[in-house]
Amino acid sequence: MTDTTFTPTLPVTAIPLREWLPWAIFAGLILLFAIYFVGAEQGATSLISGMYVHEFVHDGRHLLGFPCH
């Protein structure tokens, strides 16, 4: 596993947690919300009434592996 042949001089220092955390929380939440809309909205749970979102992403939801209906 360790026999990588890449340049060893790359700076690989950890990004401080306090710098990472705000990005992770805000962007992470928005991105998870986007995945929720593709994967589950108007299926198991509904934030918006009707079936339009469900029907629109229908094929993608099936093919991406989410339970659809």
Partner: protein, 251 residues
């Protein structure tokens, strides 16, 4: 720094989504169409049978979104949103793992390892337990339970994967890189098998649903995810490696 990785992840996700969409459009959509044809056939047979019994059938539901839109614009929007979102999350995971992940990784290798871990934890293992299903497979009444089980399986699998990576850090000093990797891989497999055994099975494939369509549909879904994660890992790694070689990490 974090911003750079986030933006780069989302951009790479968009590229991955385009490739994935192309694959699904060609190999996935025919399976969806065949599954819908089967569903229509079943519905018609049922309607015919009930007409014989003198029952009044409810009028057809109006189509909210036409099939061509579902298979075209709808599919590309769904896949792009999904891919860009996972790309962004991948960028955030990379930003966290860099310098923290046990093992001496170059950016390229780290991106590839993270993408492989993401594919296994978020798609491969949950789908071994709860595989992707085409239209007409699945009882609408159980959608809530099935969704909860599927996301639960993803949660367990992801937690086990994160645990495995952390345990590897502890075990490497004592047992060496290779043995530690084998040990935590075994740990991950045991946890997800246990979860798979404990969680209830879902089998709602209608009788006489064509097995070939089911298989091809699942293979198409699998292929799209392989394309997505491989692109995320390899392209993100290449861009990050190049950015470091040029001195500054830019998106």
């Amino acid at each position: 720094m974090v911003r750079t990785f986030l933006v780069r992840g989302m951009l790479v996700g968009i590229v991955a989504g385009l490739l994935s969409f192309g694959f699904l459009r060609v190999y996935g959509e025919p399976q969806v169409d065949r599954a819908i044809a089967f569903e229509t056939q079943m519905d018609e047979a049922k309607a015919e049978a009930e007409k014989h019994k003198g029952m009044v059938m409810p009028a057809e539901e109006p189509e909210l979104v036409s099939r061509p839109v579902q298979a075209g614009l709808g599919l590309i929007v769904a896949v792009m949103v999904y891919s860009a979102a996972f790309g962004g999350l991948f960028g955030l995971a990379f930003a966290f793992a860099q310098g923290r992940m046990p093992g001496n990784f170059s950016p390229q290798a780290l991106a590839a390892v993270l993408a492989a871990a993401g594919f296994i934890a978020l798609y491969l293992v949950p789908n071994l337990k709860y595989p992707a299903n085409p239209p007409s497979v699945g009882n609408p009444d159980t959608i809530g339970m099935r969704t909860a089980l599927y996301f639960g399986m993803i949660g367990i699998s992801l937690a086990a994967m994160i645990g495995a990576i952390n345990f590897k850090r502890m075990l490497t000093a004592r047992y060496g890189e290779w043995n530690a990797t084998l040990m935590v891989a075994a740990y991950y497999i045991v946890v997800v098998i246990a979860a798979g055994v404990i969680l209830p099975a879902v089998n709602e494939v209608p009788e006489r649903f064509p097995a070939v369509v089911l298989w091809n549909f699942r293979i198409a879904s699998f292929g799209a995810q392989v394309i997505l994660w491989a692109t995320l890992g390899l392209l993100f790694g290449a861009l990050t490696q190049r950015a470091y070689a040029n001195g500054m990490p830019r998106a």
